[in-house]
Every structure is written in C-alpha cells, then in structure tokens.
C-alpha cells in the first residue's frame, strides 16, 4: 500500500481540479459586485484544496498560485476589510483560475505543467498589500516558526505554531468536514513520563481519496494494541464497509489509555499511512494538531514522509482481500466523495463515457441475442408454453435494462449553461456593457454526446448577442430601454427535441445590412425584394458571414455562426434566428434529445429496411387515384383532408431499385420538418420500434437524407432516414 500509483491518481486529480475551478468561477461570477462572508469562505476553501492537491501531486507552480490567492482570501476572511475593490479582486481570482485551467490542460494532454505563475502571484501580492495598506486594522502576523513535524523521540513540548498561511488550513478543512472541535491553539506545556497511565482521545482524518478508510482504521487500532489498553473507537465496526463514508466524513475517533507520554503516543499515531490530520488530546486537558507535510509549503523538511506502514504486508493483504472485489466501487465512491460539490450531487459517481458507450453496445447485442434465442426458428411448432412465459419475463427485464442504460447517458445542461456566466461577465467588462444573463430550464437533460457539441454554439451565439445585439448602456437609455440588458438562456423539451433559446433585448438584426453583405459576398440567389425578413436573417448562419466591419476580441471574424451550424449538424440539430429591429433577437437551437436511441417506424423500400423517426411522422395513409395529380413541371401532389401536399418518392430520391412505383400500391408517410410537410412514398410499413442509433461507417460519404444506421431485433441493419434531408434537396 506504500506504493503510490500516480497515474490513476492523476485522472482523479484532473477531474477534481476541473470541478473546483468551475465551482470557483461560478462563485465569483454570481457575486461579483460584492462578496459575502460565505462566498469568501468558499473561495478560500476551494483555493486551499487546489493548493493542497497540487502540492501533493508536485505541481508546485500551480500550488504557488493557489497559495497566493488563498493568502489573499485568508486575509479577507479574517479582517473583513471595507471598501474592497471587488472587481479587481474578481479579476485576480479569475486570472488565477485561468492559470490553473491552462496548466490542467497541459497536464491532461500529457505535457509537463511548466506555466510560470510568478507574475500573477506578484500582482496578487501587491493587491493584498494595497488592501492591507488601505485598512488600518493590521494583522498581528503569527511568529514565523518552523513547522512542527512530528519530532522523533520525546521532545519536551510540541510547539504549536505553524507558518502564517497554513495556520488557517486545519480550520478550513474542518469547515468542509464539519468536524466538531474547533482547533485549539494552546500549546501543551509540560509532559512527564513515568508509571502513570494517561488517557487519550485521538481524532484521525485520512487523506482524501486514500480509500479503504475502514481497513486503515483497523490497522491503526491493531498497531495501537502494542502500546495501549482499553481501546474504544467510533465507528465501532470498522470491518463493515459502510463505515468508510463515516470515517471519511467525521474522522476516526479512538479513546485509549497508555503509559506512554503525549509525544510518544503522538509520534506513534502520526506514523499512520495516508494520515492527513491527527488531533490527539489528553482527555480533558490539552490538544494539539499535527499537520501532515503535504499541506505545508513544499520546502518543509518532512521526516515522516519516508515512514513505511508499520504493519506487516501480509497482514494488510489478509485484511484487504475481502474487500478487493469492491475496490472499484469504493474507488468510484471515493472519486465522487472527493469532489466537493453541492449536496444534491454527493450520491453521484463519475463513469467514463467510453464505458457507457460500451455498455450501450453490449445492451444492443443483448437485445438482439435475446431475439435470436426466443424467436429461434428451431423452436417453431414446439409446445413450449413455459419457455415463452419465461422468455417474456426476460424480454421485460431486458427492456427495462435498456431504458436504464439509455437514461444514464442523459445529463443536465446546467454545467454548460453556468459556464456562460463567465463569458457574459468577461465580455461586459471588456465592452463596458451591462448585461444580466438569466438562465431558465438548466436541468433539462440531453445526451452526453450532444452536450459536448452544444457548448460552443451557445457560447458563440451569446457572444454574438452581446457584441452585436446589446447596445451600450447610454444608447439603451436613449431608446427608453433599461440600462441593464437582459440575455435569456433557456432550455426546454419539445417532443423528441430539446430547444435551446437564446434571447436578447438588443437592437435586433439589421436586415438591410445583412442583405447588402450577402449580396457583396455573392450569397444571394434572387432579387432583393423577393427575400422575406426571415430569409434574410438566416444568412448570418452562412460560413464567413459577418456584418461587423471591425474584428473585435469577441466576434467579427465571421466564424462564429458557422461554428454554430457545423456543431449542430454533428448532433443532428438546426438553428433558427428570429429578430425584431429595436426589440431583440431570438436564436432557437433545436437538438435531438438523444443521439443514442430513437423511436422509429420501419418501412420497406425495394426490399431494404429504412427507419423513419416517429417524431417526424404525422401519419401514414393510402392514396387513391382521384386524390393524386401532377403539375406541368412533373411535381406529384396528393390531396388529403382538404390540403395539398408534395409527394416525394423515396425510391427516386435514393435511386433504389425494385421498389413500388405506383403510388396507389405503396404507402404515403406524411412527414413534417418545422412548418413544411411532404408525403413520402414507401413500399409498405413494417412496424414501430426503438432503434439504437449508430453512425454510418466513416468510410461512407455523407448522404443527404440519411442520418445513421441501426440494428434491428433480428440482427439486420436498417438505414435511419434523416427527414429534414428530404426538404433541402
């Protein structure tokens, strides 16, 4: 257990750090104009954790930045200075967060973290000095005494004093852990050694993520038996894995008597492997706190780091073996538990998307295999009532399992949405605009894969809205609008789609200007007066289109809206814009709820199976000759319930051989795409089924009207039809 598996820890480290940085950004952006004490505490805690973890992973450059910000907030927390320049403060912290992010990026790409944070640290240091100068109340800086590592043999008195920065650390981690006892700073003055029996109480905290806390506790008690008697501990049953969480949260409490003096007992206990914090007190009298070296500045000499576990390895193995099977589960739990997140997320675990993809594939195979077994042709005609009864149960279980697997891939949009706060904030600072971002429906869930592609489009649209749409505060007042502009970011579910709506109350799109630009770039295909407002507005989605004459930091290069469309296409979504001059602009992104599964109708055309997403189907019907007619251009039309629709022959569209060519003999599927409707001719319907969507093999070029393929219950492959594709051609 002494070996230190850095690789596997690195993943957890990066994940944890990213969460912390996100949390940090959110806290800052939420409360930029003024921090309350809770937020200062929170930032302090986050920075402390970042510093600690980075120091532990030996990323001293990141730790140093974390340290500087922690110092700053330590001061704010303790002194609560007045007239603080919160804007500059936020800038510094966000710079710090950016630095950490950049370094994390390098680390996760396998590069060395070589960023130099010294300039940043200097800025923060100067800022802190400035605050200190501005406030008369000065801190009595604690006397700088070398940190107390655990002394070897019985030293007279363990001094209680740590360098000023780390002094706050135990308190902070305690706040997280909600440990009962506040740190006492009293030094233990005298110690005697003799035949006397001392009664002790020790609180032990293990390092976050060290895992198998219960076994460690057991080992600890076991070792203690050599020097102590009357040992009692809480939680009592350490072999039970359920206690892991308790120990993690509340620490491990031991009471015992020993004839050894305080220092020796302290020394003995602090040799525990993966010890993070030890509070040992002689009951009723004193208590001291020993911090383990990884929380101290990296320069500290740390005699204990080399200490090997004092227990025989075999013994550990013996204890370990019953739990090894659960180790993975524990690891995951540890990863989740190690993440300081809002209480609502504490019982979540993090699984790699790859594993979920694998699970989904296996699920698909299971469904198919189930079908091939229960519908096996060799069973035909056999009297197997019981078999079929059991088979139905199996089918039901597999069905439920499939639903569960599917739902596992859905994640709320909240993270993606909250990230936008930072973007809005940064832009407002730079462009000197005043914008409030309102977020609605952030708990709407979409497929994880889609989330990956939706962040950029939202960001580009918001940038666009603030840069182009929202006016300067002065101009807004002139036109009678409130000074503070409002951008609404909303998500809602509509059928099988999720709508993401980004609405601003800015000046709207200047259609004249857009049309002029479009004409200049040769994008127009008909006379100006033939374009409707709505059609003109859609020009902004074309590649390279920008009406901004100057390139700003945020937009004007004409790539933004293009990215929106590209990214949306990947996840099968579409973008619409609707704008009213002077009132504002609304962007609507329509994305499918999940890429992984659709409810589909299987149809046959020319002997091959195709799957049409149910969400696009209004109905299907047979047409009779008197309802069919053709216009002089050869466009076929059908009249159904008093309305006329275009007929699209699927076999002609895809050039499929051997299909039904007489409309009366086939079936017409009424398909909708937005407000347009067509009737698609297919040979016949096969039936409705859930389809696991798989991408087309990459070797195949993209075909308009095809979005992927799917496996059917009998193992056959069916092509998934992309209904919007029929409308563009």
């Amino acid at each position: 257990m002494a070996d230190f598996d850095r690789e596997s820890m690195l993943d957890m480290f990066i994940f944890e750090m990213n969460q912390l940085v996100e949390q940090l950004e959110n806290t800052i952006v939420q409360s930029e104009s003024e921090y309350n004490i809770d937020q200062i505490n929170e930032i302090f805690r986050v920075m402390h954790t970042i510093k600690g973890s980075c120091a532990m992973m030996l990323y001293d450059n990141i730790a140093a930045v974390g340290h500087a910000i922690e110092d700053l907030f330590y001061y704010l927390r303790e002194e609560n200075p007045k007239n603080l320049d919160f804007k500059t403060l936020s800038d510094h912290v966000l710079e710090g967060a950016d630095f950490v992010k950049a370094e994390l990026g390098k680390i996760s790409n396998g590069q060395t973290s070589d960023g130099d944070g010294s300039v940043l640290i200097k800025h923060i240091g100067n800022f802190l000095k400035a605050i200190k100068a501005g406030t008369p109340v000065q801190t009595p800086a604690p006397p700088p005494v070398a940190p107390t590592a655990v002394a070897t043999s019985p030293p007279p008195a363990p001094q209680k004093s740590e360098p000023p920065v780390t002094k706050a650390a135990p308190a902070a981690s305690k706040a997280v852990k909600a440990a009962p006892a506040p740190a006492q700073t009293e030094a233990k003055s005298e110690l005697e050694e003799g035949d006397m029996m001392y009664q002790y109480k020790a609180m032990i905290y293990f390092q976050d993520g060290c895992e198998m806390e219960n076994i460690r506790a057991y080992t600890l008690v076991h070792n203690l038996q050599d020097i102590a008697q009357d040992i009692t501990h809480t939680p009592k049953d350490v072999i039970d894995e359920a206690t892991i969480e308790l120990i993690r949260q509340n620490g491990f409490e031991i009471e015992f008597t020993s004839d050894l003096d305080y220092a020796r007992v302290n020394n003995h206990l602090s040799q525990t492997v993966y010890l993070r914090e030890l509070n040992l007190m002689e009951l009723g009298t004193t208590m001291t706190t020993v911090k383990m070296p990884h929380d101290l500045p990296p320069v500290t000499e740390a005699p204990i780091t080399e200490i090997e576990p004092s227990v025989e390895p075999e013994e550990i193995e013996a204890i370990k073996s019953p739990v090894t099977a659960n180790e993975d589960a524990i690891k995951k739990a540890a990863a989740a538990a190690a993440t300081p997140a809002a209480p609502t997320t504490t019982n979540l675990i993090n699984v790699s998307i790859k594993k979920l993809d694998d699970l989904l594939n296996l699920m698909g195979e299971l469904v198919i295999s189930e079908a091939t077994v229960t519908q096996n042709s060799e069973l035909k005609g056999l009297p197997l009532d019981n078999f079929y009864k059991e088979a139905r149960t199996l089918q039901k279980i597999i069905g439920n399992l499939q639903q569960t697997v599917m739902s596992m891939r859905l994640v709320p949009l909240s993270n993606t949405f909250f990230k936008m706060n930072r973007i809005v904030r940064d832009m407002c600072r730079q462009l000197e605009k005043d914008v409030h971002l309102e977020i609605i429906g952030e708990d709407t869930e979409v497929d994880k894969k889609i989330i990956e592609h939706i962040g950029d489009p939202i960001m580009h649209i918001i940038r666009n809205s603030i840069d182009h749409g929202v006016e300067m505060p002065v101009d807004r007042e002139k036109t009678g609008k409130p000074r503070k502009a409002k951008v609404i970011l909303e998500a809602k579910q509509a059928g099988g789609d999720v709508l993401i709506i980004i609405k601003d109350d800015g000046r709207g799109i200047n259609t004249e200007k857009v049309l002029r630009k479009a004409r200049e770039n040769g994008l127009t295909t008909k006379a100006d007066h033939e374009y409707t407002e709505r059609e003109i507005q859609q020009f902004i989605f074309l590649p390279g289109f920008s009406t901004n004459d100057t390139v700003t930091n945020f937009s004007g290069r004409g790539v933004g809206m293009d990215v929106v469309v590209k990214n949306l296409e990947i996840c099968g979504g579409t973008a619409l814009v609707d704008s009213t001059p002077g009132i504002g602009t609304t962007f609507t992104l329509k994305i499918p709820l999940t890429l992984a599964i659709i409810e589909g109708m299987s149809v046959s055309v020319g002997g091959a199976q195709y799957t049409i997403p149910i969400v696009n189907i209004q109905k299907s019907f047979k047409a009779t000759k008197d309802k069919l007619f053709t216009d002089p251009n050869g466009n076929e039309m059908v009249s159904e319930r008093g309305e006329i629709f275009n007929v699209v022959r699927m076999h002609e569209f895809f050039h499929i051989q051997g299909a039904v060519t007489n409309i009366e003999d086939g079936t017409l599927m009424m398909l909708e795409n937005g407000d347009q409707v067509i009737c698609l001719l297919v040979d016949f319907l096969i039936g409705q089924q859930q389809a696991v969507v798989k991408p087309m093999p990459k070797y195949f070029k993209r075909v308009q009207g095809i979005s992927g393929c799917t496996l059917l219950g009998n193992g056959d492959v069916s092509i998934i039809v992309d209904v919007p594709g029929f409308f563009d051609k």
Binding site: I368, H655, K698, F700, V703, C709, V717
Partner: protein, 159 residues
C-alpha cells in the same frame, strides 16, 4: 471459414512480412496481416443508397456496424455469385487512415498466410494496361507462385 484470427498490432514485428492471401478470379492477392482483424463468413449485407457501386453496404459484426467493399467490383471485375468460399476479410482501416474504423472486404476465398521477405517482392510493371495495377504495390514470390500484394491505401481511396 468461421474461425477468427485476431491479430493485434502489438505483434507487428513478429508478423512483419506476413501476408494473408486471398483469391479473386484466377489470381492470388495478399494484404499485410497487421492490417487484418479477422475473417468472417458471408452474412446479410444491407445496401446503402447513393454509394459507389463497389461499396456493398453495411453488415453487423457482433453488434458493430461495418462498411463492406466488394473487391471484385473495386477491381472492375464482373461480380460472381457468392458461394460457401466467399468471405469477408475485416481490415483495420484505422491503420491505413485514422478514423476509418473497421472495413470488410468481400473476396472469393481466403487462401493462407505466407511470409514474403523484401527480397521476394518486385515492383509491378510500369505499363498501366488495366486499372487493377494501381492497387498493387508489389509482386511477391512464394516458391513458384505469384501473389499480388495490395496497396490498401490506394485501394480505399475514394475520389
């Protein structure tokens, strides 16, 4: 031809110069074994509309959907009825071009694996009499037999 031959890329060195040979019409061809994932028997293949004619369609390899090419059609040789010898060689397209995934090649029959060291490989004649030439990188000699060693990169290239 149901057995599978799993060849992982990590044994590259071991299988250098090893070729899997297969028959098309009257000739034997070879592909580097490092590029071969497995060999499977013919299965139902779903046609995909609007594809070049040498793309046969998609087939289901134990839950994985794989694109299949007909080697005959790619070579411009008239196709023949599939029989019990016809099979699909699953190649690791990623090794030829990143992101291709796996691809299936329909061949008349699979022959054997042979070792053809560099000194037994000759360049093809430079006269381009048939369009087949462009897919052949080398001519390999195994005893008295000739194996046409394929250039998969060119074979898979689509214009």
């Amino acid at each position: 031809m149901d057995q599978e031959m799993n060849m992982e890329s990590r044994v590259d060195d071991m299988i250098k110069d090893q070729y899997l040979t297969f028959a098309i019409e009257n000739e034997d061809y070879g592909v580097e074994i490092a590029n071969v994932k497995e060999i499977v028997g013919m299965d139902a293949i779903t046609k995909v509309p609007e594809m070049p004619d040498f793309i046969e369609g998609i087939f289901n390899l134990r839950g994985e959907l794989i694109g299949v090419l007909d080697v005959r059609k790619r070579f411009g040789i008239p196709s023949k009825e599939h029989d019990e010898e016809t099979c699909i060689i699953v190649i690791i397209g990623d090794r030829i071009q990143e992101g291709l995934g796996k691809l299936g090649l329909i061949v008349d029959a699979v022959r054997e694996t042979v070792i053809i060291p560099d000194d037994k490989k000759l360049p093809p004649p430079n006269a381009r009499l048939r369009n087949i030439n462009q897919f052949i990188r080398n001519i390999g000699h195994v005893g008295d037999d000739i194996k046409l060693l394929m250039d998969l990169e060119k074979f898979l290239a689509q214009d």
